[in-house]
Amino acid sequence: MEKVISINNLSYKYPSTDNWALKNINLEIYEGEYVGLIGPNGAGKTTLSLILNGLIPNAFGGELKGRVSVCGMDVSEHKTPELSQNVGLVFSDPEAQLSQFTVEEEVAFGPSNLGISKEKILENVTTAIRATGLKGLEGRTPLALSGGQKQRVAIAAVLAMNPRVLVLDEPTSNLDPLGTCEIFRTIKEIVDTGSFTVIMAEHHTELLAEYATRIITLNAGQVVADGPPQEAFARCRDVDKMGIRVPQVTRAFELLDENYGLNFGNYPVTLKTAYDLLSKKLPKTSLNGTSSNRTSLSYMKREKGKAVIRVENLHYWYPGEVHALKGINLEVRQGEVVAIVGQNGSGKTTLAKHINGLLKPSEGKVLVKGIDTSNSSVGELSRIVGYVFQNPNHQLFNVSVFKEVAFGPRNLGLKGEELERRVDEALNAFGIGNLKEENPFGLSLGQRKLVAIASVFSMHPEIVILDEPAMGQDHYGVKRIAEVVRALSDNGCTVMVITHDMSFVAEYMERVVLMQDGRIIIEGQPDEIFDMASEKMKHYLDATSLRAPQVTELSYLLSDHGFCTNVMTPTEFAEIAHRRFV
């Protein structure tokens, strides 16, 4: 096979920084490979992606050592527009990549810039639109499409330039589960044509393990592992420590090995291989093993109080007559930890905004601690309900973390020592007391998120709403959010989390509210909602295109072999598997 990318002794340093963002990287990538690029935030995934089409060093400057050649072109000797004929680069924010008025014009933009003939452009555009499944949407405004569709337009837009290499920098990190699936499916189809090489930086390791042919692990600017998926996740513990999520099935087999001494050779990395392995080893049985090891997080055992949120027959129309909520009834009790899940556009955020009064019901009622939100302002409600927005950049504006966290309590009229005490308490609750004097804009995304949460918590709300807290964060960041939920609950808060992360829901949430098309279609405990043995639940999961956690799916597949169908975590799975073997 032909070599398309070769990187020799590459090191790179951004201008006016002291640390090398990439250190001594050597890689060779061949035609037709589907390479997954994994690593925690800050490992250098984006930097490497930008080097491959010459944006680094051409647009960024900085110091580049070593040699990078893509399809025979040295990136430091050619400009990005030239390199872009060989390398198509797709970014994570779909909106920032769209600039035209229709899908067709958007896709044609790149090839037009190359100045090739009109007939050839139209041919490329048609091919690219077909390859990304966008047929029928050619005349639509790109910005009005769904997240997954927008990202597919962005992919089509670079495909139309006929590149040989497609580089995608976290293409799904701003998408809902449906959009994420769309992208992985589209990329798979593109790879299957055999004429492209794909390099994809991603946090969804379970999907990468399934689709990619090779996985390169980056950590602190260095390549720490490079090989087929089985190898990449072989040493789970190390991978996990780096801040990379290990596929759940792999984690389960590692636990079997470590806790119970059961080793079946290489840990499987996909659902299919795990199933094949266990279904061969275990005889069929009608027995159903259940686990005693259900996650028993401290807050789940706590006695719940009275209802603090009561939503009665809530309807909401956005201006322009979009019927966003269609008769919501919901009760949340004091101290509960509740997840709201569903695809984008199902009404999750609209519902949450009713609870702190940002939106007022068109019909029906929302009562927060007995207060009708229609009759009270957001300011008044902010004493009771804290709302942490998805993107911390929408909240932070002060020059120090202290001032940032003090902003809310100050609005409530707190001053002096009392104020100081509140801020310290909030910072300590999330373990960021040491950042008190830092400038929030100099912090990492994960730290900024914590500051944003602390700045809401310092107002002592009784209810905290977290909107997509894990968006754009790596595995380490997700674990930190779990800690935040625990800390909030320990401090007596009722917590509502809007999230797309089903394994997070299964492990840390007490109750799940599943929304679709402006309605709550079902609610219950995670082990009820994800129980695929129940026809009803399976139907709801299919209808909303949500997938149960990987170990839950595995134990469902193995239900003929003595597994209960509502396993929620790898730990639980390992325990049941072990008992089946004894």
Partner: protein, 266 residues
């Protein structure tokens, strides 16, 4: 939530919609020049009727719903009364049911003044309707492409179109930030509170826009924007038969206008 950019363009497939943007621009300029050259009630009544008819024909009810039309009406109609009462040309009083028509505070209406005001109003309305006709039947992209055909560098045209895209995006972002800060107890009821609320909203939006612009410029470069070759234009405009007829009409109109103006026939 609206993702469509709110311009004055009204999609359609009328005769005017199909014309080349350059033709439409020429027509618009032609009517303007014509209206400025001649200050005569009969001529301006004619331009008014023609431009209003064209607008109704091309955009239907939007003709009177457009903001420009409404502002123009608001300016034009009072002219009749103001000039009617106050303009010094007026001598003959207007009789209404045998009585001299008089406006409170302004005094009696006079024929010559009313005529002057009417002429003025017709000029304003004729030009306004023609302007609405232009923007309502030309997609902003075609408008810019038209200017590019006339020599505007692609870079500047692109910049104009990009900012059209960025404005609704920035407004949406601002709403989110406003919501986020209000959720932290920020009040925006009184003027003082609004002033105090400026920074918490402006800083995040400025930083956000800068990040977005950086992202966009990277994404554009990755799609060969600025490649040192001649761009291929997919939507190329050519002057069709209708365009040529319209351009002839515009030329004739201007020639007649200049002729009448120079020989002071009217």
């Amino acid at each position: 939530m609206s993702y469509e950019i709110d311009t004055m363009y009204r999609p359609g497939n009328s005769f005017f919609h199909r014309l080349d943007p350059r033709t439409k621009l020429a027509w618009t300029l032609g009517v303007m020049i014509f209206s400025f050259l001649l200050f005569d009630v009969k001529v301006l009544f004619l331009t008014f009727v023609v431009s209003f008819a064209l607008l109704i024909w091309s955009t239907g009810r939007y003709a009177l719903k457009s903001l420009i039309s409404r502002v123009a009406l608001l300016i034009a109609i009072p002219q009749i009364i103001v000039h009617g009462c106050l303009n010094a040309v007026g001598v003959t009083p207007v009789l209404f049911m045998g009585q001299i028509a008089s406006i409170p505070f302004l005094g009696p209406l006079k024929w010559e003044g009313v005529l002057f005001g009417l002429t003025y109003a017709l000029r304003v309305l004729g030009m306004a309707f023609t302007a609405v006709l232009f923007v309502a039947t030309t997609h902003p992209r075609d408008l810019v492409k038209g200017f590019e055909k006339l020599g505007l560098p692609f870079k500047y045209g692109f910049m104009i179109l990009m900012s059209l895209q960025l404005i609704p995006e920035a407004i949406r972002e601002m709403q989110i930030i406003l919501d986020a800060q209000q959720s932290r107890g920020m009040r925006i009821k009184s003027f003082l509170e609004r002033m105090r609320g400026l920074l918490p909203v402006l800083i995040p939006i400025t930083i956000g826009s800068m990040q977005r612009v950086q992202m966009m410029s990277m994404a554009l470069e990755a799609r060969a924007y600025g490649a040192p070759v001649q761009r291929t234009e997919l939507r190329d405009f050519r002057l069709h038969k209708a365009d040529k007829i319209m351009l002839c009409a515009v030329s004739i109109m201007i020639v007649i206008g200049i002729y009448l103006f120079l020989w002071k026939i009217i």
